[in-house]
């Protein structure tokens, strides 16, 4: 388990307070799908992912990106209890979505 110093938690919270979850979430997920196109295989139900423009404009991508970053926000509020906070999501990604944890790295 990772442990953060008080200073690190401060830095994380203060950066996060400036993040627009809706805008960044959509763009971050879009960039994932554009820069690492093989990740599109997890999002086949999202419709048109045929070009960077399509991906950036895709409403399902935006909505899901927002969901992901909202979840990050929860994690940031619960850094001391991250494992419990993310238990359900961990099971989902492993047991239902079958995502190789290699995809979670940097």
């Amino acid at each position: 388990m990772v442990h953060w110093t008080a200073e690190e938690k401060q830095l994380i919270s203060s950066v996060w307070s400036r993040v627009s979850v809706e805008q960044c979430g959509g763009e971050a997920l879009a960039r994932l799908l554009i820069v690492y196109p093989w990740t599109q295989r997890f999002f086949e139900s999202f419709g048109n992912l045929s070009s960077p423009t399509a991906i950036l404009g895709n409403p399902k991508v935006r909505a899901h990106g927002k969901k992901v970053l909202t979840s990050f926000g929860e994690a940031i509020k619960n850094l001391d209890n991250l494992k419990a906070t993310y238990t359900r999501l961990s099971e989902l990604h492993c047991d239902k979505l079958h995502v190789d944890p290699e995809n979670f790295r940097v």
């Binding site: 554009i34 820069v35 690492y36 940097v106």
Partner: protein
């Protein structure tokens, strides 16, 4: 393989690199040392404090080498051959890691590839923060692809 459009986008990146060599290179290295402290083990002979002349000098070298590599992107294996030997040889003789693992070859190659991936991440962060909106997803994708190619060539002499 890079498409024609991707090569054009890389030329844009190259212009940025050439105009801010020391700034970009040293910022990327510093971020890497701070965010991924294990990478410091590759530079036991460097002064790694903020703003050190060695980081600036090395940063400039890295940015310059990348800018040159973009010019010969169709032939990275050949154009980076000397750097590939240099990285393979230098990184192998780091005494700290050599003693701990007793080894060369495969695991060192894997570590090097990982370290280069971390540097690639840091380079992208620096480009994004310096150039904001200009670092579009398309530019990001092209640059990431290019950096993967460079890392693969630099680590290839291990096998």
């Amino acid at each position: 393989m890079l498409s024609a459009e991707e090569k054009i986008l890389l030329q844009q990146v190259r212009e940025k690199l050439k105009s801010h060599e020391e700034e970009i290179g040293s910022a990327a290295l510093e971020r890497m040392f701070i965010t991924y402290p294990q990478t410091k083990t590759y530079f036991p002979h460097f002064d790694l404090s903020h703003g050190s002349a060695q980081i600036k000098g090395h940063g400039k070298k890295v940015a310059d080498a990348l800018a040159n590599a973009i010019q010969s992107v169709d032939n990275l294996s050949q154009s980076l051959s000397a750097l590939s030997d240099l990285h393979a040889y230098n990184l192998r003789v780091d005494p700290v890691n050599f003693k701990a693992r007793g080894g060369w070859g495969c695991s060192r190659g894997a570590e090097t590839r990982l370290a280069l991936q971390l540097l690639s991440q840091c380079l992208q962060v620096v480009l994004a923060s310096t150039f904001g909106k200009e670092f579009t997803p398309e530019v990001h994708a092209a640059f990431d692809k290019f950096l993967s190619g460079v890392a693969a060539v630099l680590a290839e002499k291990y096998r």
